[in-house]
């Protein structure tokens, strides 16, 4: 049984707790503190001067600072929602394709799907920027073969953000497929046997057994997908620089531009705090939604 080895516990925990405390928790608290300060990132923290809610007024205000932030917030919300809405159903469908035992090759498919998750995002961004190339890019060439005209992809404000969502989905869906498979293996086979005896067909079994029992897995997947989606940076920093006309300006990119490149540390921190609050609200709402379904 576990025993009270207090001194040993202190030694064992010291490295990890110190490092996470200093390099994660402390900066997080500093971000919150800085969001109420006027502070240039070029200067020591001691130079910060308290401005109350001034930064928050500014980032939600009518000036260009406010307009840019609100655009970035909206773009991030759209990007995140689209990513989750595409990744979750695909991960279940792909998970079923890997998990089924009627046709061989499931494990090979899993390997192919998951391999994209190992690829550095920077390489993904480079490859897809070429795939999306309007004139000689392979995607438009392939669309041409099936009679669809060339798409502007990253070069149009209407399609640029969606194009980045698609490359994100391509990269990440394998990881979520593995999570879905983990959920599927937890469902007792006897449930399906009983349902078959009761005359339930495949789609009924999916609807009344598979989906409800995957709910916890999907909740976990949704949370991770949201956290991953707000981190999108490389394709934007490298290819679109937030454009065309701000259509791909997302929060991670925008906060870094304001807080590091323009050294407006107070404003950038206020934006980071809003991102943190939005995440807390979204994740809590998701949990509340799933828990209510559970109690139904």
């Amino acid at each position: 049984m576990a025993k009270a080895f207090r001194a040993s516990a202190g030694i064992m925990l010291a490295p990890a707790v110190t490092l996470i405390g200093v390099f994660v928790l402390l900066p997080m608290l500093l971000t919150v503190w800085l969001s109420f300060q006027d502070w240039s990132t070029q200067t020591p923290f001691s130079e910060a001067s308290f401005v109350g809610l001034g930064n928050f007024h500014e980032i939600f205000g009518p000036t260009s600072v406010g307009r840019d932030f609100k655009t970035a917030l909206l773009n991030t919300a759209i990007y995140t929602a689209l990513s989750v809405v595409l990744i979750l159903p695909l991960s279940v469908v792909f998970g079923l394709l890997v998990y089924q035992r009627e046709v061989a090759g499931g494990t090979a498919l899993r390997t192919v799907l998951f391999s994209t998750y190992m690829v550095p995002m920077i390489a993904v961004a480079l490859v897809w920027s070429k795939l999306y190339s309007p004139s000689e890019g392979p995607l438009n060439q392939l669309l041409g073969l099936v009679g669809i005209g060339p798409q502007p992809w990253l070069s149009s404000p209407r399609s640029a953000l969606v194009s980045i969502v698609l490359l994100n989905v391509w990269q990440q869906v394998g990881y979520f497929t593995v999570l879905a498979i983990a959920g599927l293996t937890q469902i007792p086979g006897s449930l399906y046997e009983a349902a078959t005896l009761d005359g339930a067909n495949g789609s009924e079994q999916f609807r009344f057994i598979t989906l409800p029992l995957l709910r916890r897995t999907l909740l976990f997947s949704a949370v991770i997908a949201i956290i991953n989606a707000v981190q999108v940076f490389e394709p934007v920093a490298l290819i679109t620089q937030g454009g065309p006309v701000g259509s791909t300006n997302v929060l991670t990119y925008h906060i870094r531009r304001v807080g590091i490149e323009r050294a407006q540390g107070g404003l950038g921190s206020a934006m980071a705090v809003m991102l943190m609050l939005s995440l807390i609200v979204c994740v809590s709402a998701l949990f509340a939604f799933v828990n209510r379904k559970d109690s139904e």
Partner: protein, 286 residues
């Protein structure tokens, strides 16, 4: 296929099987296509990359593009930097995670579950939330523009602690108590008794950490502030982008991307069992 299995196969609805098989093939092709195209393009001549309709496979594969990459960025130096960043960080993560994981799994002490919850909460914190003050802090420590600045803040992470705690909890207490009876110190027990019995999980964590830090972009870019000598390969790649205007340099960019992709992908191909098992493990036990 023997006659017997063929007749067996016929008993199943074969249309359904064909549909399943083609769906699987379609998904696999769509998933593999971008990386396959990347490698194939890196082997083409500039003329071939511009051709319409496209040439999918080079008539005579050439390493010309790779030579050109070596002319634009210092490939050896960048790969070495990436290797140092990824391996040193991984080593640190393994040490800090196994120690903390052991404490959380096998000791009881006041505030254990509170401390664990606080640490785990940091797992869900996007790095951008701490980036601005962290950038300033690392600068004040005199670590900016150096490999140490990239590595030090990442030597411990909540995911590692979580994963190690899950697996160490499964190590029998009798094993640990027996070693204590023999007078072994706690650190000795951790590295001689506990660690070997969760070797696959440690391997999984090592691979995860290595690939994650090999691929990591935002933090190195922010810390290094243009010190090209310390660039890992993923940051050096962005330099190829100034050569990225127009299709003439597609081969160059794809050759650079291939170089950055190969190490994590090779690790994955050989060790994917560990990756997959630990994801499944963390999801189910979590």
């Amino acid at each position: 296929m023997s006659a017997a299995t063929r007749s067996l196969a016929r008993k199943r609805p074969s249309g359904r099987k064909a549909l399943l098989a083609s769906a699987m093939l379609l998904v696999a092709v769509a998933s593999a296509f971008p990386l396959a195209w990347m490698v194939l393009s890196s082997l083409k001549t500039p003329a071939e990359t511009m051709q319409v309709p496209p040439v999918w496979i080079a008539r005579t594969p050439t390493l010309e593009a790779y030579e050109k990459v070596a002319g634009v960025i210092n490939v050896g130096r960048s790969m070495w930097n990436s290797l140092v960043i990824a391996s040193v960080t991984t080593a640190g993560v393994l040490v800090t995670s196994t120690m903390a994981g052991y404490a959380f799994a096998k000791y009881s002490f006041p505030g254990r579950s509170l401390l664990f919850s606080v640490l785990i909460a940091t797992m869900f914190l996007p790095p951008i939330v701490t980036l601005i003050p962290l950038y300033r802090m690392v600068g004040s420590l005199g670590l900016s523009a150096s490999l140490a600045g990239i590595i030090v803040p990442n030597l411990a992470n909540a995911f590692g602690i979580f994963l190690m705690r899950q697996f160490i909890a499964g190590v029998p207490d009798d094993l640990i108590d027996a070693a204590r009876m023999d007078g072994a110190s706690e650190l000795l027990i951790l590295y001689k008794i506990v660690a070997p019995s969760i070797a696959p999980a440690i391997a999984a964590l090592a691979l995860f950490a290595f690939v994650y830090h090999w691929n990591s972009y935002l933090w190195p870019l922010t810390v290094l502030q243009g010190n090209a000598d310390a660039y890992p390969i993923v940051i050096s790649l962005s330099r190829l982008l100034s050569y990225n205007r127009g299709a003439v340099n597609t081969g160059l960019v794809m050759a650079g991307a291939t170089l950055a992709v190969l190490p994590p992908l090779i690790l994955f191909v050989f060790l994917q069992r560990f990756f997959v098992d630990s994801i499944v493990g963390s999801a189910i036990k979590g």
